[in-house]
């Protein structure tokens, strides 16, 4: 059976499963559409949230980031998991107690203002739309590589599948599909990792193998990796970083941003009780950590495998010739994600760090005239089974897993967008008299429009995929998280304070990002070059969300303290969200 047929079988079987679930879990009411009826078991919700959260970026890109950046990119590992601690203790249980459907619901009611509700809707839509572009693009890459269709056909197929189960099933359909998608993606991610860990270290558990001994050389794997990359002029995998302030702020921005992402928060509205929201956050992180604890092992082992492939006799000896390159390099060359250029015309593939001045003399002595092989970080996970010579069905599994990761996150984001439009904008602000049926129809139509918009942006990506993710996290950290937290932990913050805080946080964060990455990301419009010596106090635009959040808190408190206290019924509302008692009744309103 050809690889193409195997891939088709795996992807086709996973789609059949999603469609089956969608038909079985059709949403019949707005409560089912927005919060899956509010009766999802905390472990089930944990699994669905894990799939919701782990996007194409987690599945495809993270191991590659770790392979390239080593210790310095641990920020992603800690930042994207530590946010759940904040979510579990500072937001999820109280928002569940509040018992409504959306994030703007809480902000609008708690700050007794449609202005605050509208500000929250705008922030939510910016965050979710920027985020969903990456998912559509990721699904397009996976389809085009494994199913031999064009990138745009891939994006249309992905859009059609999401449309089917998200529009009909709503949160109910999405929840149970995400559970299936989690199972597919975690199996796809860990199986190749287990094989590779066994090959390199003899330990079947990658997170232990990574800190074990390298079988071939008998020394610890990480020490071996440091040695071989050092010989090619690269920084050690475990090397420390000098700008600790930026590392702290970047990690904190990712954590606060994670806790403030609306599509993650609304998943905690689906569990029956407040106590379940707390447990569910723990289960979510367990399911996420299965992948996140494996990712650094995948990254470090793939890096070692790559160097060993290019330098079969070790980095001190001759590199392999282009003619004897393995099959997987040929496959990926056709996608343009691996490129070779014979700069010194010796027919061999030299890969080294030509940007390190200290290494230049050594490279010249060996007759090298620049790095000849460029490997896109994103292919590491997708090419992993081929690099390790694993059987064809593992490759089919990876294809299904990558598509599952992209689709599950896209569906969650689209639901967050559609509920903000149909519930917060239409039902709560424009036409409060809308019937249950009318609201459902509005929700489905806005979901359809959101899918079309996401497809359009996926087909015509604005060309700044990495930057927009920074924007999404920065805005979530600087606007929604502080507003939600103050709404629960302070009785004194009023409507004026909250709105001022959100606006100042939003403007500050967006302007700082635009100053370095270009106004509205238009290339060439950046006011300052995006280099560390230009950054204010050495803070990169990726890390600025933390500062935006602090400014939001400060402005909100200052404005609130100089204006009147919130009315008594709002203070009573805050008291009521703080205690779990009576949550069951609150949901049916």
């Amino acid at each position: 059976m050809s690889q193409f047929v195997i891939n088709m079988l795996f992807v086709g079987a996973s789609f059949a499963l999603y469609f089956g679930i969608a038909v079985w879990a059709r949403a019949g009411s707005t409560k089912e559409f927005y919060v899956a009826g509010g009766g999802v078991h905390p472990v089930t919700n944990g699994m669905a949230t894990a799939a919701d959260w782990m996007s194409a970026a987690s599945f495809i890109s993270m191991a590659g980031l770790l392979a390239a950046g080593g210790y310095a990119n641990s920020t992603f590992l800690m930042g994207w998991t530590g946010g759940y601690v904040l979510l579990a203790m500072l937001l999820a249980p109280y928002l569940r107690k509040f018992g409504k459907f959306t994030v703007p619901d809480f902000i609008g009611d708690r700050f007794y203002s449609n202005g605050a509700r509208l500000a929250a809707v705008v922030c939510l839509i910016i965050i979710c739309v920027t985020y969903v572009i990456g998912q559509m693009a990721g699904a397009g890459v996976a389809f085009s590589r494994f199913l031999e269709v064009s990138n745009s056909t891939g994006i249309w197929i992905a859009a059609g599948v999401v449309f089917f189960y998200a529009v009909f099933g709503g949160m109910k359909g999405i929840t149970y599909t995400q559970v299936a998608q989690y199972v597919v993606l975690i199996i796809a991610y860990t199986i190749p990792a287990v094989f590779i860990s066994l090959q390199l270290t003899g330990n079947p558990i990658p997170m232990f193998g990574m800190f074990g001994d390298h079988v071939e050389s008998g020394i610890p794997l990480l020490q071996k990796l440091n040695e071989v990359v050092r010989e090619l002029g690269f920084t050690d995998y475990t090397a420390d970083v000098s700008n600790k302030l930026n590392m702290v702020l970047f990690t904190l921005s990712l954590m606060i941003g994670t806790a403030g992402l609306p599509h993650v928060i609304i998943r905690f509205f689906t569990v029956p009780k407040v106590a379940d929201a707390r447990w569910s956050a723990g289960w979510t992180l367990i399911f996420i950590s299965l992948l996140y604890l494996t990712a650094p092992a995948v990254g470090s082992m793939a890096r070692l495998n790559l160097v060993n492939t290019i330098y079969p006799e070790g980095p001190a000896a001759q590199a392999m010739t282009y003619e004897e390159r393995p099959e997987w390099i040929k496959t990926w060359e056709t996608t343009g994600l691996i490129k070779w250029e014979d700069k010194n015309s010796d027919g061999r593939v030299q890969m080294y760090n030509d940007a390190a001045p200290a290494f230049t003399p050594a490279a010249e002595a060996r007759g090298w005239k620049g790095n000849e092989l460029t490997v896109n970080n994103d292919i590491l996970v997708l090419a992993n089974p081929e690099i390790a010579n694993l059987p064809g069905w593992v490759i089919g599994l990876i294809a299904a897993g990558a598509i599952a990761a992209a689709l599950s996150t896209a569906a969650g984001l689209l639901l967050a967008i559609s509920s903000a439009v149909s519930h917060d904008l239409i039902k709560n602000m424009i036409n409060p008299k809308i019937s249950e049926k009318g609201e459902m129809l509005a929700a489905r139509i806005s979901m359809g429009v959101a899918i079309l918009l996401a497809t359009y942006l996926g087909l015509n990506p604005p060309g700044f995929a990495a930057q927009v993710v920074a924007l999404a996290f920065g805005i979530a950290a600087a606007t929604l998280f502080p507003a939600l937290m103050m709404g629960i932990f302070s009785k004194r913050v009023n409507n004026k304070g909250a709105i001022a805080g959100m606006l100042v946080g939003l403007v500050f964060t967006v302007v700082y990002i635009f100053l370095y990455l270009g106004w509205f990301f238009i290339p060439g419009t950046a006011t300052f070059a995006n280099t560390p010596d230009n950054w204010l106090f050495g803070i990169s635009p990726l890390s600025i969300g933390t500062v935006g959040a602090l400014i939001n808190f400060a402005v909100a408190y200052a404005v609130s303290l100089s204006t009147e206290a919130p009315p008594q019924e709002i203070q009573d509302l805050v008291e009521s969200v703080r205690t779990p008692k009576g949550a069951g009744g609150a949901l049916s309103h």
Partner: protein
């Protein structure tokens, strides 16, 4: 009524105290051990690397899971103790 209010206030105070302790652990393993205190822990080897590196790529995530489950367990006890459980 007043005693119910006082009870709710005491419950909230206990919750905030618990959150504070959990956040201290959360910050210590990530911002502490994994980033700022890493040079101090450099002498403790963990399989080819050092303890700070292990916390950055494994230990902090495992601790986060532990912190959330500890919080959930402790809060369920507090809910019952103050009689505010569902």
């Amino acid at each position: 009524m007043t005693s119910e209010k006082a009870n709710a206030a005491a419950y909230w105070k206990a919750n905030v105290r618990l959150i504070t302790w959990c956040l201290i652990v959360w910050a210590l393993v990530s911002y502490g051990f994994a980033i700022l205190l890493r040079p101090m822990l450099a002498g403790i080897p963990v399989g080819g690397a050092d303890l700070g590196f292990w916390f950055a790529q494994q230990g902090s995530i495992i601790t986060f899971v532990g912190v959330i489950f500890f919080y959930a367990w402790k809060m369920n006890k507090l809910d019952k103790q103050f009689g505010v459980e569902e």
